[in-house]
Amino acid sequence: MNSAAVLHHDNYLGAGATWRSWLVTLDHKRIGILYTITITLLFLIGGTAAALIRLDLLTPNSEVVSVETYNKLFTIHGVIMVWFFLIPSIPATLGNFLVPMMIGARDLAFPRLNLASWYLFVAGALFTIYALVAGGVDTGWTFYTPFSTVFSNSNVIAAVTGVFIAGFSSILTGLNFIVTTHQMRAPGMTWFRLPLFMWSMYATSLILVLATPVLAMTLFLMAIERAFHIGVFDAALGGDPLLFQHLFWFYSHPAVYIMIVPAMGVASEIIACFCRNRIFGYKFMAYSILAIASFGFVVWGHHMFVSGQSAYAGTVFSLLTFLVSVPSAVKVFNWTATLYKSRVRFDAPMLYALGFVGLFTIGGLTGLFLASLGLDVQLHDTYFVVAHFHYIMVGGSVMAFFGGLHFWWPKITGRMYPEGWARFSALLTFVGFNLTFFPQFIVGYLGMPRRYPNYPAEFQVWNVLSSAGASILAFGYALPLMYLMWSLRYGERAPANPWRAKGLEWQTSSPPPAENFEKTPVVTEEAYAYSDAEPAHG
């Protein structure tokens, strides 16, 4: 395939370099890039807050910042990272870029809506950043009532307004992906020929569409209650603060799957490609993604085992939680089995993907600790929980996001990234991550509560280890930022299919033309039809 030699102005990046050409673009690929830039900036804000938190936790007494500032820092960190980085991370960037390409379409079904999503996202982000910077918010990302409605003196309403607006961006993106998947598939692209990344985008979109409205309305009720001093969450009137938690977690538990399911999709693509093998148990993988997405809606009460929720409800939620963990386990087993009788290569995306599998496994297994009713009493609201969800969301999602970014970087930018640096930073991230978060499991079981700038001195050694790890992790994240930017200018020009990967996105030039394909592709084989006879790539 010689389409790599296409002239610069023939690809989507060459379609104009003015601000205007980017800000009014309807091209899903460009919108994906707009998202990438936006969430990178937001990641830097959330990451700075995290760095300050880890710095402050070096000593048992909050010496770097005041406790008020500490409370605002972990709120900034949580709100930005959850709603303005993790949730849009893979779907809005790689998803936006790849969904139409993987199914052989020219664009998403509703390109204008797609651009509107980005503007809504930016508007929401600006609102929230305003709230977080102008005085700050000290409620934590969970906004629990009655603290958020009655007792906090911070910018709660502005912050939730931002989240509310960004919620619409999520909904519209999800809607767009669902319609696109149903309507725009190229001839021959049947459901069971879809790459697993598409399945993961489809499942994620379902969650985005079905869960986000609940969050939006819950935050709306909460803001009204704060503004008018009356509401159904207010115990002083006979209302029920636990009702807020039910409504909040009805969204926020599925939201975890919004963050991790796309990562599973990315990992599946990378592992299949670098094993040159079909994903083991493809159909089981597709079904398990759907199972995770749907069971994810009935387990929210496991965030509330010690909240004052009834023991019966807790029991039901615990059982359901164990059920949802089965499909996740199945996925890990299948990725492992894909390596069997394969031809593994360890390019940087594969290192990231294997790192993802390892960290996700630990995150998933420790989730089982938390799902166990009796044990959760000890673990709830301690650093064990903090470590667990960082293994899933940061270890899992961000690792896969970086893997995907490297994997599709040649396709997106037309340039190769520097392989050596990329492998090095994948390893650095893996080591730094484990050093940061593994000690938190131990200090969590010891009983150290989350959201504590002051803590008993005997916990210090674990916190020092964790902060040390965080500094390594920071390098692991900063390096790709630098060499990927470098590669935009100095990187080797990428061929159309540097990995000799299957998948429609690799059948067009790098970067692709504005309309993605010169002519609509016709699909004749299953996903990952890597054939054994192919010679190993030199």
Partner: protein
């Protein structure tokens, strides 16, 4: 577009694909609307289960007559909307424009009646934080009922208002001949939205107004 012929957007293969995509899109959007209101209904139901007597007493203080008339008005507007879509399919431009404006008028009538109802609530000191009468029995819980009542009916009224705006725009477009039997997706989609607003009200009515009337 004035010719009433569909412009197929470049990402679609043909008009049919575009039309079914819009249709699928609007139905997904409607599902999110159901979930939006569903949260309000959930909050209402759970609070009501905890204070059945207070909610029953509070519900008896609402105006079932005005709300009942309003239900009929909204059901009728749903009929006119359906007939409008039918006219669009037939290519009957005058009928389409007529039905759409009639729908707008009925929607406006709904809001006017709603306003009278709110005025009545004001007179009877039922508006939380503004003039709520705290001397009645179980006042706090009755106030919670009215808090939910204003949240639900308020958000619903906002949807009616948005619906009226959309239908008015569609009516103006229709008058200019923007639609034809082969292209009337905007009419169809607006109609679906309007019917959903109607359906939401069908739930609001018994849940807020008919509690323990016997």
């Amino acid at each position: 577009m004035a010719s009433g012929v569909a412009m197929t957007a470049p990402q679609f293969d043909d008009a049919e694909q575009q039309r079914s995509s819009s249709n699928l899109g609007i139905w997904i959007f409607l599902a999110t609307e159901v979930l939006f209101f569903g949260v309000l209904f959930a909050a209402y139901s759970i609070t009501r289960v905890r204070f059945p007597d207070a909610f029953a007493a509070a519900s008896r203080a609402t105006s079932v007559t005005l709300a009942g008339i309003n239900t009929a008005v909204l059901l009728t507007s749903s009929l006119t909307m359906a007939l409008g879509v039918h006219a669009a399919r037939q290519g009957a431009r005058r009928a389409l424009v007529g039905w759409l404006w009639l729908t707008v008028a009925l929607g406006a009538a709904f809001l006017v009646i709603k306003a009278f109802e709110y005025r009545l609530d004001y007179v009877e000191h039922l508006i939380p934080t503004i003039n709520f009468d705290h001397s009645r029995p179980q006042a706090d819980q009755v106030e919670l009922f009215f808090y939910m009542y204003f949240c639900i009916t308020g958000v619903h009224a906002l949807h009616v208002l948005i619906g009226i705006g959309c239908i008015a725009v569609i009516a103006a477009m229709a008058a200019r001949g923007a639609f034809s039997p082969s292209y009337f997706t905007p009419v169809d989609v607006t109609g679906l939205y309007w019917h959903l607003v109607d359906i939401i009200w069908l739930f609001v009515f018994p849940m807020l107004y008919l509690v323990s009337r016997s």
